[in-house]
């Protein structure tokens, strides 16, 4: 990871405990949900691994948010924090650069997350990345792409579509590659 100076301003650099952040409200506002969805969409834009601006996985993402905010331990505090952090970054750097720096050059030191920026990265960005990948993002990097991935709900194995890249005798791509 980059050793650049940590990005952001006073909100991002605010010192907090490493444990999950608490919040006086127990639910997210509609505006906060919209802002969180934007973070998720920007992951797909940054890595270019979703064609439809992640629209096809909005329902999976919504289910995640529901589970994370309605069941313990609650993530409402983390989500509210992430919204505030991103807001500051956008104000400082502009939208595109803010996300680029947050995802790729944030300067967060290794170790437990003890700043608001580190919390946003660890508990929101990193977790959204994992969800984005298992929701289908794993298929958006290379061709041929994997058909399945641990965490991806591939559908009943009795559907006609194969759920994995199947073995076909005589089509070993390594044959020409063997030293």
């Amino acid at each position: 990871m980059s050793t650049d100076t940590m990005i952001g301003g006073p909100i991002c650099h605010g010192q907090v405990d490493a444990t999950l952040l608490d919040h006086e409200d127990h639910t997210l506002t509609a505006a906060q949900r919209e802002a969180l969805w934007e973070i998720f969409v920007e992951i797909g834009r940054c890595w270019g691994n979703f064609d439809d601006d992640s629209a096809s996985v909005h329902s999976s993402w919504s289910e995640l948010i529901e589970a994370k905010t309605q069941q313990p331990p609650s993530y409402v505090g983390e989500y509210a924090n992430a919204v505030a952090v991103v807001q500051e970054l956008v104000q400082m750097y502009g939208r595109e650069e803010a996300y680029r720096q947050l995802f790729l050059h944030n300067g967060i030191p290794a170790g437990p997350p003890v700043t608001r920026l580190a919390h946003a990265k660890r508990y929101v960005v990193d977790e959204f990345i994992r969800v984005q990948i298992v929701a289908g993002g794993f298929q958006g990097f290379v061709t041929p792409s994997p058909a399945n991935y641990n965490g991806y709900v591939g559908g009943s194995r009795y559907n006609r579509l194969p759920r994995v890249v199947p073995y076909v005798p005589g089509t070993d791509p390594l044959r020409e590659e063997k030293p």
Binding site: M1, S2, I43, W47, G48, N49, E63, L64, A67, K68, Q71, F103, L104, H105, N106, V125, D126, E127, I129, R130, V131, I133, V134, G137, F138, F141, V142, T143, P144, S145, P146, A147, N148, Y149, N150, G151, Y152, V153, G154, G155, S156, R157, Y158, R163, V164, V165, P166, Y167, V168, P169, T171, D172, P173, L174, E177, K178, P179
Partner: protein, 521 residues
Amino acid sequence: MSTTSKHYQYVFIGSGVAGATVARRLLAHDPGTSILMLDAGPEVEAKGRRYWWDYVITGRKPYDYTYDIPGENSTKGDIKWGYEGSRVMAYGGSTVHWGAWCMRYKPEDFRLKTNTGEGADWPISYDDLADYYHQAEQYLSVCGDVGESWNAHRAHQPYPRPDFGWTAADGVMIEAFRKVGIEPGKMPIARYRKCMTTGTCKYCPFGSRFSAQYILDDLRSDPRHTGFVQRCHAPAVKLIVESKQRVVAVEYVDTKTGETHRVHADTFIVCSGTYESAKLLLRSTSSQWIDGIGNDHDLVGRFVVSHSFLRVKGSFPRNPGHWIQEYDFPTLMSRTYDAPEYQLDGKIFLFKNRILPNVDIGKLMIEGKTRAEIQAILGGPMELELQAFYEEKGLYGNRLTSKPGTNRFGLPLTHIDYLRDPRFPERATKRLELMKAVFREMGFEIVSSGWDDPGGHHATSTCRMAENPESGVTDSNLKVFGTDNLYVCSNATFPTCTAVNPTLTLTAISMRLGDHLVAQA
């Protein structure tokens, strides 16, 4: 201490697949059967969506806290027994976390001593279990291929579900297998029709992989089962006898309240796994059983054995197919060396590592790798690994006992004395050479090879079945020698550990015990 006035027909100690299967059989015969089933551990929610998301994101499972804690148990000898992560101490037992690989033992496995002069024979044969294996495969919903040569003796009993086919990432190893004389096969896996191939089998959100939890949930919720009671947080302390032949009660502790209870029953079934079944018998001492129930010949706890784990890993400079491991179980395996001619030197069951090849794309993104960097890694160097379970033979001097102290579920801590057979290194090395030949044929560079110490995952034999009490602890019907009404139904009763996973066989003998008890009733 409180003594309940309720008298049960059956008390089960343990709530894993064995206990659940026997109880189900009894209740199917007579729904009003009175059964008390105790488990030392808690109940962990199954199919919880939040738990599943947390598992997908962090890798943590909701039952991780029920594992043995590193360092609390001990080993003495020339290996370090693998305790951690090998058993779930909770409602449903270890099928809460198992991989669901379901192979039948083979006919020769029941005659190890006769065939090799080493190990032990079972007092039953493969033929005694054949129909129960068939029933167990239906019950667990095993997906497999009977066309493989090692299935010739059971080809008339097809699997209930078609096999999971090989994946493209298996291809190079399949072709190498054939060239070195190994027959490739498809791993028989217990998966229901509703499998969505999420690859999160260790905590399936849909209940597609068999867990004894689902059986117990059905038993509890059936309104006809008015006599079925299941209690968690209830470790058994001791079995109480009124005479040498007759067990009359079990004492257990309610770890939530600290109270000790004594419960009476007609029949007692200890289905607590290889560790706890033996330890319970050992601590159930009395004037009639000085060294523990069933232990007049000092055999309880002895012969403890499990698979050693062989592995060879190889690398290739490119991955042009961008293969990653798409399931959470291996699809490629072979039982070519799980055959009679290999019994003396140690059978092995071969399977391709379920985790490789792998690229953790999410981790790369979290680390800040760009799209181009990730694309290069996906097509770059890859590793494959071939693994094997090696059949060890139980030795008299290897034994399991309790050590002072209890764990957080109230179970006594475990100690194992274990010395490996001195011929193991030479024999295992020969097997590793067979495995390395596969990688040479594949054109892969071998990066590592070796073996791991045995551990609790497939431990057996601490209350082994035998023809007579001088040779074992339980008879061919799993009844403890010298008693009229005490049974052990767990891997502890297996005289051998063979080269494959034990759970299908455990399920089969549980069904057989259920029929035996119904016939007696």
